[in-house]
């Protein structure tokens, strides 16, 4: 027998309690890692080298206000601008409201793929997209979600704008870096549907180099100051975060849930350890009488507690990762979560929480057992 073997024997002595405790820690850490991943996706969306070069121009007042199409001409000529595309959220209704929770944008087909090189498209499909005025390009996950095929027609009924878009799928894009769940169609078709009103939701720009971005932002906003439609220009990341902030303080909401989960876990494991040690007070006194020092006893309790919570943590954290990798989260979340990358840092945080949980929950029972004298421990439960 070894000391670790002794710890394992002790931990396994009440299998039902052990199973329930490990499962409660596992479920809690499963939830915690899932929530942390969701929180990170929301407040800290993944970025790429290309996304760091993109900036967004919108109306200064809000996203609901539109910009004049003519701004594009001036923006394209500013130093540092490599490409500029109109980018208007269509917000149409496909079949019914529940099926319409995917993003639809009208874009300039000539430059769209240059601004978003992460979207990989077959060149023949890309050509078909640029030739057909009512063509659209769809992310592969969205295609799978609705079972669409190339050449299918779909109608997006009037939602935000007072027009229906009758589209034909001409291209499919794949990407490992951006969401594969969006639909893009041609802005000239949108203009036609809108009666050539010359309105644009946003302009998306690709800067020539990252160093140009701060100056570019200043120049664009300065150029349209004191006009009917003043602009607010920001990086893609700042734009996404601003978009998220419109649905409230998500960080605080999810953070509060995470705190409650961790606190509940602490109570569960602390209670289990307290019971387990209380039941073994006499045995601990025997160990002391045999020559085990206070430090050794503390280490035994600490190791058992940490082992228990780490086992639960491992099940929960890596169970969550396994599920995230095997399940189609996009389909399961009905399009709400396009991707669910459970990265190493989140797994590490989950395991660290499990470890801290083990340490903290063992402190009180370990202290109590150390404070109990051998004589008291041997005689108290007689």
């Amino acid at each position: 027998m070894t000391i670790p073997g002794f710890i394992i024997r002790n931990a396994l002595r009440n299998k039902r309690r052990l199973t329930l405790t490990v499962l409660s820690v596992a479920v809690s850490l499963f939830l915690l890692t899932v929530l942390l991943t969701a929180l990170r996706l929301i407040v800290n969306p993944p970025t790429t080298d290309q996304s760091a070069l993109r900036i967004v121009v919108r109306h200064r007042v809000s996203l609901a206000n539109v910009l004049p199409e003519k701004y594009q001409y001036r923006i394209e000529r500013m130093p540092g601008v490599q490409y500029c595309s109109k980018f208007t959220w269509f917000g149409g209704i496909y079949r019914d409201q529940a099926s319409s929770n995917f993003a639809q944008f009208a874009v300039d087909p000539a430059v769209f793929f240059k601004i978003f090189p992460e979207a990989v498209v077959d060149p023949r499909q890309q050509e078909a997209f640029s030739k057909d005025r009512s063509a659209c390009i769809v992310g592969v996950k969205l295609m799978e979600r609705f079972g669409w095929k190339l050449g299918d027609r779909l109608v997006l009924k009037a939602g935000v704008w007072p027009c229906d878009a009758d589209l034909t799928i001409r291209a499919v894009y794949h990407s490992s870096q951006i969401e594969e769940t969006d639909l893009f169609f041609r802005h000239d078709y949108f203009d036609e549907l809108m009666g050539q009103r010359g309105v644009v939701g946003t302009f998306w720009i690709k800067a020539a180099q990252a160093e140009d971005i701060p100056g570019l932002i200043t120049r664009i906003d300065a150029a349209f100051r004191n006009t009917d439609a003043e602009t607010k220009t920001e990086t893609e990341r700042a734009f996404q975060l601003g978009f998220i902030s419109m649905i409230g303080n998500v960080r605080m909401f999810i953070g509060s849930i995470c705190t409650v989960i961790v606190f509940t876990m602490l109570l569960v494991t602390a209670s289990t350890m307290a019971m387990a040690i209380r039941e073994r007070l006499r045995e601990i006194s025997v160990l002391k009488a045999l020559g085990f020092t206070g430090r050794m006893i503390f280490s035994l309790i600490l190791a058992e507690s940490c082992g228990l919570s780490l086992a639960g943590g491992f099940l929960g954290v890596f169970g969550a990762k396994l599920l995230a990798e095997t399940l189609d989260i996009y389909k399961l979340s009905h399009g709400f979560l396009p991707m669910f990358p459970m990265t190493a840092d989140i797994l590490a945080v989950g395991m660290l929480v499990a470890l801290l949980l083990g340490i903290v929950s063992s402190l009180a029972p370990a202290y109590a057992s150390l404070k109990t004298s051998v004589v008291t421990g041997l005689t108290e439960l007689d």
């Binding site: 027998m1 070894t2 000391i3 002794f6 024997r9 002790n10 396994l12 002595r13 006499r282 045995e283 025997v286 160990l287 002391k288 009488a289 045999l290 020559g291 085990f292 020092t293 206070g294 430090r295 050794m296 004298s373 051998v374 004589v375 041997l378 007689d382």
Partner: protein, 228 residues
């Protein structure tokens, strides 16, 4: 007579229960020679278990000195005491106090985990101790699979396995039937006579005390027969 292995001088133990003080032991002076088998007898509350705990270093005297094998037990720190107990004291409890999830072999091996012995050496020591108490065929049994007498013999093997200076037994037959009690007492007696182990046993049973070479009586915290 051999040189004293236990020397108690004016040993006093007072327990404080709030404002009330209870004198458990009052100025006990006693010598126990190496190789002796001493029975501590007395009625309930006479202080015999307290005296045993002080000798074993699991409790501390209020005043007085307790020397065991040339060590002033009262002067040791908790950590030193723990290490000293591993080396010098073998415990046998009334309720056996075996760890229920460990086999007889593992229970006996437990004190050896605190030593630097290799796994092979530990195995040899444990096997020898269990064979000494005639439980060589019960090594893989859990405590619940053993009778009371067998459990106590495992406990005795555990107390012997580190080859301690002193064997301390607190009512070792208190939870046993007459037959098992005789077996255990005979075993303690043979350990004392054949192996020269110094044994101090607390009992309130005169029949058990008869197995010892000397009996020391305590009453109300004082020795009845002076410095035995």
């Amino acid at each position: 007579m051999a040189a004293p292995i236990v020397q108690l001088r004016e040993l006093t133990k007072v327990y404080a229960h709030g404002e009330i003080e209870v004198v458990a032991l009052n100025r006990i002076t006693l010598d126990i020679a190496g190789g002796e088998f001493v029975a501590l007898m007395g009625p309930s509350g006479s202080g015999k278990s307290t005296l045993l705990h002080l000798i074993a270093g699991i409790d501390r005297p209020t005043t007085g000195q307790c020397w065991v094998a040339d060590t002033d037990v009262g002067a040791l720190t908790e950590t030193q005491l723990a290490e000293w107990r591993t080396r010098c004291i073998g415990f046998v409890f009334q309720t056996f106090n075996l760890i229920p999830v460990l086999t007889a072999f593992e229970n006996v091996e437990l004190p050896l985990l605190l030593t630097n012995l290799s796994p092979r050496e530990r195995r040899e020591h444990v096997t020898a101790a269990l064979e000494l108490v005639e439980l060589g065929d019960r090594m893989r049994h859990l405590p619940r699979q053993l009778s009371g007498g067998q459990e106590q013999r495992v406990a005795i093997a555990r107390s012997l396995v580190t080859d301690p200076t002193l064997l301390i037994a607190d009512e070792p037959t208190g939870n046993l039937d007459a037959h098992s009690a005789t077996e255990v007492l005979t075993l303690l007696q043979s350990l004392n006579r054949q192996m020269g182990k110094t044994v101090i046993m607390v009992t309130h049973d005169p029949k058990a005390a008869a197995f010892a070479g000397r009996t020391v009586h305590l009453e109300k915290g004082e020795l009845l027969n002076g410095n035995g």
